[in-house]
């Protein structure tokens, strides 16, 4: 785009910022916008293009960053009151990579507090609205990151995905969301929710954009001991074997969502791909496994928020009282719930029954997927059981909310790459998507395959908010 001088980076930045200026008042997707810094950097990028010294495809592209990823000198709040005043003294590894590539950050995006939630309703700074219909949630926890891409207030964004937190909001907002293979993208500088599940990934308008950004952020990082040196599998995507997961094509998943899968199946069969039904019975346990492992890990990961070295602090006469009170005031309800659940699952006398058992079932799920991928190249399913739901619809019973991650959680448990791409609209004119899961380290093949489906389905809609505003 900049290469052939259609536009200058600073012009694109101004345009994106202009969009933000009218979408943000409705959506509340950005928690903070970096206008001055962004404009300055985009002008530097202009000059690089003029001198033909551009840093690559991403030089000058405005990208939004989920506010649980540290950028030096800026606030990282995790949408929590706890970190309302916290300024990061260092860059996350993905941020360093993107800076080197000449990316401009539009700002930080809203999320469910500490990435715990599926609707962005758990943000201490108020929810983000869905650009397709502000009465509906954008999904979560990367709701802000999905909404900005959908609304055009950023060209792309980074989110984090622990149980579906990139794919589910991408699906709700009608954009592409990719969770890479565990360990391919450094977690250094991502504020941990559940370390063995968390993974940073891009949210974009097109699958190609996802490929470009993933390419930039992936790779071994010596600062993250769980990071891997990936040897990517490269599949010939001309004729592939696709498995349809039976457990996600039954009760519990809406007909609308199932229909999207069926639609894609027909298109794939037309192209001569082989589609078979597969069954992984233990995926029905995935939610239970997830709701023990993630809270257990988070209960320790979030212990460091104690008012001692950073963040807010409540006054008290002893350190212990101060920590108790600070954590009481600083954390919201959902965060407390998960910390308590995890604390209980790890406590003396309950460890084997809960956390220990969950780890073992997780191991079994991993080997079940291994077996399944002996038979198929990709697994196709809905991304979410339903399209976006309305605000308040699922806040009464925690399980209802948790169930919206039903189809996305297994990929996190098994560390698999998984992508969500929009395929159609619901009867309420809300986006619907399918999810493609692949073998570990088949990230580029998953992306290639998703791109071929993207071409087949020709999803040519965009968020209402944008159209209305463009018309006016």
């Amino acid at each position: 785009m900049f290469q052939n001088k259609e536009m200058k980076p600073s012009e694109l930045f101004e345009q994106v910022y202009e969009t933000a200026s009218y979408t943000e008042s409705v959506l509340h997707a950005h928690l903070e916008l970096f206008y001055d810094e962004g404009l300055k950097l985009s002008k530097e990028s202009d000059r690089r293009y003029i001198k033909s010294e551009s840093l690559g495809l991403l030089d000058g592209i405005p990208i939004a960053i989920k506010d649980n990823i540290n950028i030096y000198g800026y606030k990282t709040t995790c949408s929590s009151k706890m970190l309302s005043n916290y300024v990061s003294p260092y860059d996350a590894t993905v941020i360093s990579s993107l800076k080197k590539a000449g990316i401009i950050f539009t700002g930080k995006t809203n999320l469910d507090e500490f990435a715990m939630g599926s609707s962005t309703e758990n943000s201490a700074y108020g929810p983000t609205k869905n650009p397709w219909n502000p009465d509906y949630v954008p999904g979560g926890s990367s709701g802000g990151s999905a909404a900005v891409v959908s609304a055009g207030s950023a060209v792309a964004s980074l989110g984090s995905d622990t149980g579906g937190s990139i794919r589910q909001p991408a699906s709700f907002c009608g954009v592409v969301g990719f969770k890479p293979t565990y360990g391919t993208v450094s977690r250094y500088g991502l504020i941990a929710f559940a370390s063995s599940l968390d993974q940073i990934g891009p949210i974009t308008n097109t699958v190609d954009d996802t490929r470009i950004i993933f390419n930039e952020i992936q790779g071994y990082d010596s600062k993250d001991a769980t990071s891997i040196t990936p040897e990517y599998l490269k599949l010939d995507n001309k004729k592939v074997k696709v498995g349809i997961l039976k457990e996600f094509m039954q009760e519990g998943v809406s007909e609308e969502s199932q229909n999207e899968v069926n639609k894609v199946v027909s298109l794939l069969q037309e192209k001569g791909h082989e589609v078979t039904e597969i069954s992984l019975p233990l995926t029905e346990m995935a939610l239970s496994v997830y709701y023990l492992i993630a809270p257990a890990e988070c209960s320790a990961n979030l212990s460091r928020f104690d008012g001692v070295r950073f963040g807010i602090r409540e006054a008290a006469s002893t350190s212990y009282e101060m920590m108790n009170k600070t954590r009481s005031v600083g954390f919201g309800e959902e965060v407390k719930k998960r910390i308590l659940l995890g604390t209980y699952a790890l406590s003396a006398g309950y460890f084997d029954e809960y956390y220990g058992r969950a780890l073992k079932v997780r191991s079994k799920i991993i080997s079940d997927f291994k077996d399944a991928f002996e038979k198929v190249d990709f697994i196709l399913s809905p991304t979410t059981p339903t399209p976006a739901f309305a605000f308040g619809e699922k806040t009464k019973n925690p399980l209802e909310m948790y169930l919206s991650d039903l189809c996305t959680i297994p990929a996190n448990l098994a560390g698999l790459p998984a992508i969500s791409i929009p395929t159609g609209l619901s009867k309420n004119a809300l986006p619907l998507s399918v999810q493609i899961m692949g073998k570990p380290c088949s990230d580029y093949s998953v992306i290639d395959f998703a791109e071929s489906i993207e071409e087949m389905v020709e999803f040519n809609y965009s968020a209402n908010l944008l159209e209305e505003n463009n018309e006016s």
Partner: protein, 481 residues
């Protein structure tokens, strides 16, 4: 009822690495707070741990040095508890797969060797340092100041089985462990710097009972002296309770250096539930044979080996232990000197008594470069063969420490060589016997103490220029035939 005490020791050894355990901050000794800290060791949001290879090598070396089995596939666990100087509010430690298990350490107590069974050797990270600021009394702090320079420094925890029975044995164990880590080169081993920190678990029970009594943990002992006193005090305290038929409370107590008593610590955590679980930031750790082999290569001389060498040279176990625990140069000097002397004990005595004593007095901590084992051996041989008196030998040593002399030529030059000439001695003896007729008449047998007196008189009359052995020989012949 006769009571016996059972003691188990938990010792934290601070490893001497360049960087910290899980981050690249330099390990420093500094008064200036919070200057060697980073997101990881400060527990900032988003930071991650990456373990230090040298620290793992060191713990493998220590595990081998304590005859432990090495766990080939292990992992790190999170130990959860809230304390302001623990940045993440969990400590990365090891739980069910410590690096070393079921070992033993040979220690010396008086003239006997004992083996202290080691339960486990595991890796962990240090906390920050708290300074309690206030009225000067520890129990009325108005605020706590935190410095995280120490946070994340690698620690190895060595835990013994409850097999120690006295405070002296506990001290000998710590001395041995300290020597081991110094010898391995894995820790500076300075107690006063907190490089080794120990807690003692003490219980008292009926001598005939197979069961242990209630365990009390004693913390805050900063020296071997306080370790010994704290254990003795605690054994006495518990014994009194048991004798009175009272039950001992399971608790943690602090050694109060000023009051010389142990005092109960009210713990904040209630019943500790550390919720150990495998750290998801750190994948399973494999310590394979190759790694163990490489670590083994770095082990040169274990204290037990040194002790063996010393014993083989003819020293007693306690003298061997003394040199083994002492400074390395002295150990080396002894071994090279004893090669050229006849008597190991007198060589040991001369080096550890005379030489070290004179060096202390002269306030020198390093031998002058001209003083080598050959000269010292020559000097020792001079008085061993009675060519010079011991007194002269001491004078020669003093001279030698000041300037480069050859002991033997110096002795001749200064006329210090004792005569063994029978004629000369016989004349002196005859003269002394004549002058001391009253004593000679009181002599009953050759073992009489008064013989020594007469020898002394002969020596005196010769101005200590004759060989006392020969004098005695001649004297006895003269008197008893």
């Amino acid at each position: 009822m006769n009571l016996k005490a059972t003691i188990g020791m938990e010792t934290h050894v601070e490893l001497d690495t360049e960087s910290k355990m899980f981050c690249s901050c330099e390990v420093i000794e500094s008064e200036e707070p919070n200057i060697s800290v980073c997101p990881t060791c400060l527990g900032l949001p988003g930071a991650l741990p990456v373990p230090n290879k040298t620290a793992i090598e060191y713990i493998v070396m220590l595990s081998l040095g304590t005859n432990c089995n090495i766990t080939n596939e292990g992992m790190f666990h999170r130990k959860n508890y809230f304390y302001p100087d623990l940045p993440k509010n969990y400590q990365i430690s090891q739980f069910d797969f410590p690096v070393g298990i079921n070992g033993s350490l040979e220690i010396v107590l008086d003239e006997e060797l004992h083996s202290v069974e080691i339960e486990r050797v595991h890796m962990e990270e240090d906390t920050g340092k708290s300074v309690h600021e206030g009225s000067g009394r520890i129990d009325s702090a108005i605020s706590t100041l935190l410095d995280f320079n120490r946070s994340g420094i690698p620690l190895v925890e060595v835990v013994t089985k409850p097999v120690i029975s006295t405070s002296k044995m506990a001290v000998a164990y710590i001395e041995e462990l300290r020597q081991l880590v110094i010898e391995l080169g894995i820790s500076k081993g300075k107690l006063e710097k907190g490089n080794l920190r120990f807690d003692a678990n003490i219980s008292v029970a009926d001598e005939n009972s197979n069961e242990l009594g209630t365990k009390v943990e004693i913390k805050n002992m900063n020296s071997l002296k306080s370790l010994e006193k704290a254990i003795d005090y605690e054994i006495m305290r518990q014994s009194k309770q048991v004798e009175k038929g009272e039950s001992v409370i399971q608790e943690t107590r602090h050694w109060d250096e000023n009051k010389q008593v142990t005092i109960s610590m009210r713990t904040k955590e209630g019943s500790a539930d550390y919720r150990y679980f495998s750290d998801p930031d750190l994948p399973n750790m494999i310590i394979d044979q190759e790694f163990i082999k490489n670590s083994k290569k770095k082990i040169q001389n274990l204290p037990t080996d040194k002790r063996k060498t010393l014993k083989e040279s003819g020293l007693s176990l306690s003298d061997s232990n003394y040199l083994d625990k002492g400074e390395k140069w002295l150990y080396d000097l002894y071994l090279s000197t004893v090669e050229n002397t006849k008597d190991s004990k007198s060589t040991f005595n001369f080096l550890t008594g005379e030489l070290q004593g004179q060096m202390r007095k002269a306030e020198i901590d390093k031998l002058p470069e001209w003083v080598d084992s050959e000269k010292l051996a020559n000097l020792i041989n001079l008085f061993e063969t009675n060519e010079v008196s011991f007194t002269s030998a001491k004078d020669i040593l003093a001279k030698l420490l000041g300037e480069d002399i050859d002991p033997k030529s110096y002795a001749s030059e200064k006329n210090l060589i004792q005569s063994s000439d029978d004629e000369e001695i016989r004349a002196l003896v005859t003269s002394v016997v004549k002058d001391n007729q009253d004593i000679v008449e009181r002599l009953e047998d050759p073992d009489d103490k008064l013989v020594g007196f007469l020898v002394g008189q002969v020596m005196k009359s010769s101005e200590i220029k004759v060989n006392p052995g020969t004098v005695k020989e001649v004297l006895l012949k003269e008197l008893f035939g």
